[in-house]
């Protein structure tokens, strides 16, 4: 039902990451309205309180602003988008290195396969 979630992380954190990715990729731009809590809960197949919690955290991080009657809007400048992009990419790169090291590859080997992969 709805979105796919991984088992080992709280769902609200996974929703936050999803929204951040949408902001970085340009799907959501400054001034865009986020879906209403109920609508997103329905689409994702999760509890509305979980979405509420994710939105509150996005607000706390200053990526989203809520207007009392009309909903929540993305509010972010280019500098901050860049920062967010770096955060997310750092996370993926760390994850990539962790997994490749788990396979027994050293950093030189990882660099080699990465550049080879890019060239292909």
């Amino acid at each position: 039902m709805g979105w796919k979630f991984s088992d080992d992380t709280p769902i609200y954190l996974q929703i936050i990451e999803e929204v951040k990715t949408d902001i970085v990729s340009g799907k959501y731009k400054t001034g865009d309205k986020l879906p209403a809590v109920r609508d997103l809960a329905y689409d994702a197949g999760v509890n509305p309180n979980t979405v509420q919690r994710a939105y509150a955290e996005l607000e706390r991080q200053g990526l989203v602003q809520s207007e009392r009657t009309s909903g929540r809007f993305v509010s972010i400048d280019d500098e901050k988008i860049e920062e967010l992009r770096k955060d997310l990419s750092d996370f993926y790169i760390r994850e990539l290195f962790r997994r490749l090291r788990d396979l027994g590859m050293d950093d030189k080997k990882i660099r080699d396969v990465l550049s080879k992969w890019r060239d292909e």
């Binding site: 197949g45 509890n47 309180n49």
Partner: protein, 231 residues
């Protein structure tokens, strides 16, 4: 505010302790999973809350009141078996709910029945199991209740019908209501839960927010359940 409170709630059948000194507080605005293997006391707890059973010891209150006519008006209960006469047609059922419950929202029920293309003239006994479950859930969720007690709402229906049922639950309860869902199909329901209660041999062995549970254990509720109840 607390919708359902149990204090030392116990129920004994002969020598079998179905529920053993259960203390619980369920808050409003939450969807809570009542999870446990067969025979762990889930249905007994729900029946005590709906006054189909009386406690052997301890007590249970709903919005501060002992179960009785007043609480029945606030509690919308979906039993784990077909409880409606099977000759009744959908339109008879809607009429009956309208007559019985002052908080029944007939427009809401009709909207959902129409969106599923349910035939109002079809009697329950002619419906497939999935359709029957959906109709009963629609009737249950169309009441503006304070507490919804759903006993195994998704057992025995196909995955698409499960999704429909879960989405119906999410979109129909309001922030002042509490939904208690008993099930052993944890993987299917866990994403819509705020809290999980694990019942083991009549005792509460866990009552926790599900995101916290994932955070502290690094596991889904389903995985953690399998660990706790390993045979």
């Amino acid at each position: 505010m607390e919708t359902l409170v149990c204090n030392g709630l116990s129920k004994t059948y002969g020598t079998v302790k179905a529920l053993d000194h259960v203390d619980l507080k369920l808050e409003e605005g939450k969807i809570i999973g009542l999870l446990g293997p067969n025979g762990s006391g889930k249905t007994t707890l729900i029946k005590l809350a709906s006054r189909l059973l009386v406690p052997s010891e301890g007590n249970v209150t709903i919005c501060g009141l002992e179960p009785g006519p007043e609480t029945k008006a606030m509690v919308s209960y979906l039993p784990d078996r077909n409880y409606l006469p099977d000759w009744m047609r959908t339109k008879d059922l809607v009429k009956m709910y309208q007559d019985f419950y002052g908080d029944f929202d007939v427009e809401r029920a009709q909207e959902m029945l129409n969106s599923l293309g349910i035939d109002y003239d079809m009697p329950l006994k002619k419906m497939s199991k999935g359709t029957k479950e959906k109709v009963q859930l629609i009737l249950t969720m169309s009441r503006h209740a304070k507490l919804y007690l759903l006993d195994e709402p998704i057992a025995g229906v196909d995955p698409a019908a499960r999704d429909y049922i879960l989405k119906t639950i999410i979109s129909n309860y309001d922030e002042t209501a509490t939904v208690l869902i008993s099930t052993h199909l944890i993987a299917d329901v866990e994403n819509i839960l705020d809290e999980a209660i694990f019942l083991k041999e009549g005792k509460v062995v866990l009552h926790q927010n599900v995101d916290e549970l994932r955070d502290t254990t690094g596991k889904s509720v389903d995985e953690y359940f399998r660990e706790v109840f390993k045979c």
